[in-house]
C-alpha cells in the first residue's frame, strides 16, 4: 500500500536521482562502514600497541595458522558472487525473471560455499588445534571480524532466498519495484564483499 501513498518509493526523486530504498541502503552502508571501520581501527590500535616479543606479540606468517590459499579461494568465490549478483539485476532489468532467478540462486550457492569453507575448513581447523578466540588478541579479532562478516553473508543469503522464493510475488505486481529491491540487495552484497577484500589481506597476508 505504501507504494501508492508515499512518493518516490519506486521512481527516483528528480533532484537526488534516488528512490527511497536506494537512498536508504546507501545510508545503511555508511553506518556499516563506521561499524567495520571501528573494528579495523581496533585492529590497528591493538597491533600497534603489541610488543615485539613475548606472549602478547602479534603473530605473523606461520604463527597465525591461517591458510592464504583458503582465504584466497574464498576471496575469489565472493568476487564471483558479486558478478552473479550484478548479472541477476541485469536480467531483471531486461525483464527476464527466469534467468535473473538463476543468477540469484548462483549467488546464494556461492555465498553458502563461502560460509561452508569458512566454518568447515577454517574455524574447525583452528578448534582442532585448540585455538579459540581467547587464545590471543589476534585470534580474538580474527574470530570477531570474520564472524561478524560471516553473519553479514548469512543475512544476505536470507534476503536473497526471500527474493528467489516468496519475495518474487512482487515481480508480478510491480516489476520495477522488485528490480529496485534486487539492486539494493546487490549494493549491500558488494559492500559485504568489499569488507572481505580488506579483511583478507590484514588477517591472512600482513
Amino acid at each position: 500500500m505504501s507504494a501508492e501513498v508515499l512518493p518516490y518509493t519506486v521512481k527516483p526523486h528528480p533532484v537526488t536521482g534516488l528512490y527511497n530504498g536506494k537512498f536508504g541502503i546507501w545510508l545503511f552502508l555508511a553506518s556499516e562502514v563506521m561499524l567495520f571501520g571501528a573494528l579495523f581501527s581496533t585492529y590497528i590500535f591493538l597491533r600497534i600497541g603489541a610488543p615485539e616479543t613475548g606472549p602478547t606479540a602479534w603473530p605473523t606468517g606461520e604463527q597465525t595458522h591461517l591458510s592464504w590459499k583458503l582465504g584466497g579461494l574464498n576471496t575469489l568465490i565472493l568476487i564471483l558472487s558479486s558478478v552473479t549478483m550484478v548479472m541477476a539485476w541485469v536480467q531483471f532489468k531486461m525483464d527476464n525473471l527466469a534467468k535473473g532467478r538463476m543468477y540469484l540462486i548462483a549467488t546464494a550457492v556461492l555465498a553458502i560455499a563461502f560460509v561452508a569453507i569458512k566454518l568447515k575448513f577454517e574455524y574447525m581447523h583452528k578448534f582442532h588445534l585448540g585455538i579459540k578466540p581467547s587464545t590471543s588478541v589476534f585470534f580474538a579479532i580474527y574470530f570477531t571480524m570474520t564472524g561478524l562478516h560471516a553473519l553479514h553473508i548469512i543475512g544476505g543469503v536470507v534476503v536473497i532466498a526471500y527474493f528467489i522464493g516468496p519475495g518474487a510475488k512482487l515481480w508480478h505486481e510491480n516489476r520495477e519495484y522488485y528490480t529496485n529491491r534486487i539492486e539494493c540487495t546487490g549494493l549491500y552484497w558488494h559492500f559485504v564483499d568489499l569488507v572481505w577484500i580488506f579483511l583478507f589481506p590484514i588477517l591472512y597476508l600482513l
Binding site: T42, S134, V137
Partner: protein, 576 residues
C-alpha cells in the same frame, strides 16, 4: 500496493503494530516518558543515600530486599547499579527516544507535508527494537548481582569482570543501537525525499534541520559503540582480552586464564567516539524545538536562521573530533591533548552562535508568555550555564582538578535536565493540541513551570561548589573525605531539591492525563503558527493532509509588514 488497504485495520494493526508515524510517535512518547520518570525515581533514591549516608530509607527502604538494601540501607553495589542505570535510562531510553522517536516522528513528517515516514515498517521495527531494549534493561535489575553497575560509561576492566547485569546491559544496548540506526536512516530519507513541493531545504523549519543533523550523528556515531559492545561481549562471554592487558590480579587472584594483550583505553576511544556526538543528539533537537516555540511566541522570524543552520552543520561535523576531551586524565601526550582541547574550544563557537541567535530573536518581538514559551525561555539561560561550565572542562589544565567531580555532573545536567528536559516539556505543551485536539491546562502549567524551574536549580547549582571542593562523582558516601564532609550540607540541599522537583511533577502528570480526555478543545492552529503541521486537522488523520499542501514561503513569516494578520502560513498562496 497490494490489496489490503481496503480493509479496516484491526485494533492491533492500528494501535500496537501500527505503521503510522503518528501512532509510533505517541508510542515512543509514552514509553519514553515512563522511562524518564523511572530514571528520576532511581535518582531520587540515590539522593537519599547521598544526603543521609547509611541511614534507613523511609517508607520504601524495605521493599528492595536483602541483596540491595538490607534493613532499608542502600548497599554500595546497589547505589552503583542505580547510578549506571539512571544514566543509561535517561539518555538512551528517555531523552533520545522522546526527542527523536516521539517529537521527531510525530512532528517532522507533518512539518514537511509528508503523508508518513519513507519506510513505515522500518519505523515500527525501530520502535519495537527500542521497546525490547528497554525490557532487557529493566529485566537486568532482577538478575543475580543486579543491573549493570560500572557506570553508563562501562569502562573495562571493571565492566569485563562485573556481574551478569553488564551482559544484559550490552544486549540491551545492541537493541537500542539497532533502533536508532533504523530510525536515523528513515529520518534522513524522509527529510530529503518527501518534502512537499516548494519546501526547499532553506524553507524547512529549524526543527527539521536539527532532526536531520541529529540523524546523521546517530547514523555515524552509533556503529562504533555497537562494535565496542560486540568486543565487550566477546570479552565477557568468549574470554577474549580486547580490553584486558596481561598480568591482571583481581582480588588477589592472578588472571592466568586470559591471554592479555588488549587495552582498556581502546574502549574509551570507541565509547566516547559515540558518546560525544550523542550529547549533541541530546541537545540539537531540543534547540530545534525551542527555536520553533520562540519564533511562534515572539511573532517574529528567527534571527539568523541560516547562520543557525550552518552552525548546526558545523557542530555536527566537529562533534566527531572532540571525543578525547573526556580522556584528558588518561595520560595522553601534550600534543594530542592540545589538539582535542582546541577542537573543544572550536565546537563551543557554533553553540554560542545558535544561542545568541535565539536571544536576539526576542529583540523587537511581541513576546507571549505561554507555558511552552516559558519553558523554552528558561532553556536559554540553563543551557548557557551548562555550556559555559563546559569550558573549564575542555581546557586540560583546569580539567585536572574538575575531572570526574560533581562539577562535571553539574555541567552536563544543566544541559540535559533544565536544558533538554525543559525543551521536552515545552514541546509537550506546544504540540499537545495538535496530537489530541485539546490543550493542557494553563494554570497547572504555570505551577509546573515555576516550581520545576526553582527546584531544578536548587538541585544542580550546589554541584558546582561541590565539584570545586573536589568531591568525586559516583561516590556512595562523600563524608569519608575531609573535603566531602565539609560540603555535605550542599548535598542535603541538592537532595531536597530533587524530592521537591518530584512533587512539582504532580501537577503535570495530573494535567497530562486529564487533558487528554477533558482538556479545552481548540482549533487546528491554536498558536497561530505558520508551519505545515498546523494546517493539518488536530489530530491529523491517517495520511495527514486532506489535500497535499504546496509551500510558498519560509517557515517564520510573522508580522510581515502590510499583511492583515500577524502570520502567513507556509502553504497560503498570496496575502489576500
Amino acid at each position: 500496493m497490494s490489496g489490503d488497504h481496503h480493509h479496516e485495520p484491526s485494533f492491533i494493526r492500528k494501535y500496537v503494530f501500527s505503521v503510522d508515524h503518528k501512532v509510533i510517535g505517541i508510542q515512543y512518547g509514552v514509553t519514553a516518558l515512563c522511562f524518564l520518570f523511572l530514571g528520576f525515581c532511581l535518582i531520587m533514591m540515590m539522593r537519599w543515600q547521598l544526603a543521609y549516608p547509611g541511614e534507613t530509607m523511609p517508607i520504601i527502604g524495605n521493599l528492595f530486599g536483602e541483596a540491595a538494601m538490607p534493613g532499608g540501607v542502600m548497599l554500595p553495589e546497589f547505589y552503583n547499579s542505580l547510578g549506571a542505570m539512571h544514566g543509561t535510562i535517561m539518555i538512551f531510553l528517555g531523552v533520545v527516544p522522546l526527542l527523536v522517536g516521539a517529537f521527531g516522528n510525530y512532528v517532522m513528517p507533518l512539518q514537511i507535508g509528508a503523508p508518513d515516514m519513507a519506510f513505515p515498517k522500518l519505523n515500527m521495527l525501530s520502535y519495537w527494537s527500542y521497546f525490547l531494549g528497554g525490557v532487557v534493561m529493566l529485566a537486568s535489575f532482577f538478575v543475580p548481582g543486579g543491573a549493570a553497575n560500572s557506570g553508563w560509561t562501562s569502562y573495562p576492566p571493571l565492566s569485563d569482570i562485573a556481574t551478569t547485569g553488564q551482559t544484559w546491559w550490552l544486549f540491551g544496548m545492541v537493541c537500542l543501537i539497532t533502533s536508532s540506526l533504523l530510525g536515523s536512516v528513515n529520518f534522513i530519507v524522509t527529510i530529503v525525499q518527501l518534502r512537499v513541493e516548494g519546501l526547499t531545504m532553506f524553507r524547512l523549519p529549524f526543527f527539521v534541520w536539527a532532526q536531520l543533523i541529529t540523524s546523521f550523528l546517530l547514523l555515524l556515531a552509533f556503529p562504533p559503540l555497537e562494535a565496542a559492545g560486540v568486543l565487550q561481549l566477546m570479552d565477557r562471554l568468549a574470554g577474549t582480552s580486547f580490553f584486558l592487558p596481561e598480568g591482571l590480579v583481581v582480588s588477589g587472584v592472578v588472571q592466568t586464564q586470559i591471554s592479555g594483550g588488549g587495552s582498556p583505553i581502546l574502549w574509551q576511544h570507541l565509547f566516547w567516539f559515540l558518546a560525544h556526538p550523542e550529547v549533541y543528539v541530546l541537545i540539537l533537537p531540543a534547540m530545534g524545538m525551542v527555536a520553533e516555540i520562540i519564533s511562534i511566541n515572539t511573532r517574529k522570524p528567527l534571527w539568523g536562521y541560516r547562520a543557525m543552520i550552518y552552525s548546526t552543520i558545523f557542530l555536527g561535523f566537529m562533534s566527531f573530533i572532540v571525543w578525547a576531551h573526556h580522556m584528558f586524565m588518561t595520560g595522553m601526550g601534550t600534543k594530542i591533548s592540545a589538539f582535542f582541547a582546541t577542537t573543544t574550544m572550536i565546537i563551543s563557537i557554533p553553540s554560542v552562535v545558535i544561542l545568541t541567535a535565539m536571544v536576539i530573536s526576542l529583540y523587537q518581538g511581541a513576546i507571549r508568555f505561554t507555558v511552552p514559551m516559558l519553558f523554552a525561555l528558561a532553556f536559554l539561560p540553563m543551557f548557557a550555564i551548562g555550556g559555559l561550565t563546559g569550558l573549564p572542562l575542555g581546557l586540560p589544565a583546569s580539567d585536572i582538578h574538575l575531572h570526574d567531580t560533581y562539577y562535571v555532573i553539574g555541567h552536563f545536567h544543566y544541559v540535559v535536565a533544565p536544558g533538554t528536559i525543559f525543551a521536552i516539556f515545552a514541546g509537550i505543551y506546544h504540540w499537545f493540541p495538535k496530537i489530541t485536539g485539546r490543550t493542557l491546562n494553563k494554570t497547572l502549567g504555570y505551577i509546573h513551570f515555576a516550581f520545576s524551574f526553582i527546584f531544578i536549580n536548587i538541585i544542580f547549582m550546589p554541584m558546582f561548589w561541590q565539584g570545586m571542593a573536589g568531591v568525586s562523582r559516583r561516590l556512595y558516601d562523600q563524608t569519608v573525605y575531609a573535603h566531602g564532609d565539609a560540603v555535605q550540607s550542599l548535598t542535603v540541599i541538592s537532595s531536597w531539591g530533587a524530592w521537591m522537583l518530584g512533587l512539582a511533577q504532580i501537577p503535570f502528570i495530573i494535567n497530562f492525563f486529564i487533558s487528554i480526555k477533558a482538556g479545552k478543545k481548540v482549533s487546528d492552529n491554536p498558536w497561530e503558527a505558520t508551519t505545515l503541521e498546523w494546517s493539518a486537522p488536530s489530530p491529523p488523520p491517517h495520511g495527514n493532509f486532506a489535500t497535499v499542501p504546496v509551500v510558498y514561503r519560509g517557515p517564520y513569516e510573522y508580522s510581515v509588514p502590510g499583511a492583515s494578520s500577524d502570520y502567513i502560513p507556509q502553504h497560503i498562496t498570496t496575502e489576500a
